[in-house]
Assembly symmetry: C2
């Protein structure tokens, strides 16, 4: 162990502690009640440390969610590819539906979504940093399906993704129906029927 | 003109003034900056009048949007029915897309949606008072399409509505793509392909 403190490592440690504290507090008390003071206390840092790195509460929340996705990126963003588009999409959609049905997972995402709705600047950041890389990975798998003749060659892939994911997004966001494996399957089947090869 | 003041008429007048002031302020300054004080000043009533009728800012916002829909209900909630489901849905979806592309219309709805996301109680109220009556009117038209052989007889109509409307909802909410008449048409065509008869 070095005796000289490594200040950049200490900064990274504080940053991660702040992001983890933010996610924990969102899940425990909900976004509206999360205060910068509480994040600082939980992370063991001063309030000024947070304000030095982030301009607002919304920005800390955004980065706390983005950090989750960066962890995931490190592993693998690509969708499974067994050669069977329908089976692969059902596997992915069942996992996604299960995540959104899990309170610990969904609470921070719900908080971020509410922020994004009211803030056009944050919406642009969200699209560029979070949504677009994930969408590109999904589209790569859809292109494989097009080459295999399992999806119309002229399908608008942005529209395919919307037909596939937006119903789940809306049902989750508005709490308007059950999030079940059967629902995941039904969405995949509807999207593939809508964009079946000529 | 009666010389005796009609207190119930005055109350209704104040209620409508408060709801109109709320909608105007949401459009002008955005939900987060709307204050009960400003609503009261704009409506020409005391703050206590507002607190007597509504428990929270979220509740006033909700009723201000609901009042719009009640006006609409008074006229007609039913979808057009020319006998051609695709043409009728395109007409309705083009109008809906145009509304969501209009800043004056969309701002109060965006504010309400952000409220509904974070408040499960308000979400239930939203479903019962606003979403369900509108969805029932849409389903009545879809059933006509089923009888005419233009939509699969065994189609899950909740799922049909989600495939039709959720992509628009998501694209509008996340500002993730253009809201055009062509987009409206593409959604109708995708939904009808997904739920084509046998």
């Amino acid at each position: 162990m070095p005796k000289t403190p490594d200040s950049s490592r200490r900064s990274e440690h504080s940053r991660q502690a702040i992001l983890a504290a933010t996610r924990a507090l969102i899940s425990e008390v909900g976004y509206e009640k999360v205060a910068i003071e509480a994040i600082a206390a939980r992370a063991g840092v001063g309030k000024q440390t947070i304000y030095r790195w982030w301009p607002s509460k919304g920005a800390v929340i955004f980065d706390s969610i983005l950090a989750l996705s960066e962890d995931a990126d490190g592993r693998d963003l690509a969708l499974p590819d067994t050669g069977d588009l329908e089976a692969d999409l059902k596997r992915v959609m069942r996992a996604t539906v299960a995540e959104f049905a899990d309170p610990d997972f969904e609470k921070p995402i719900r908080a971020l979504t509410a922020e994004v709705i009211n803030d056009a600047g944050l919406a642009a950041q969200y699209r560029d940093k979070l949504a677009r890389p994930v969408d590109e990975a999904k589209k790569a798998r859809l292109r494989g399906g097009q080459r295999a003749g399992q999806l119309a060659a002229d399908a608008d892939l942005d529209l395919v993704l919307e037909v596939l994911y937006a119903p789940l997004f809306q049902r989750w966001l508005q709490r308007s129906g059950p999030l079940t494996p059967e629902y995941a399957d039904a969405l995949v089947e509807a999207a593939l029927r809508a964009f079946r090869p000529g």
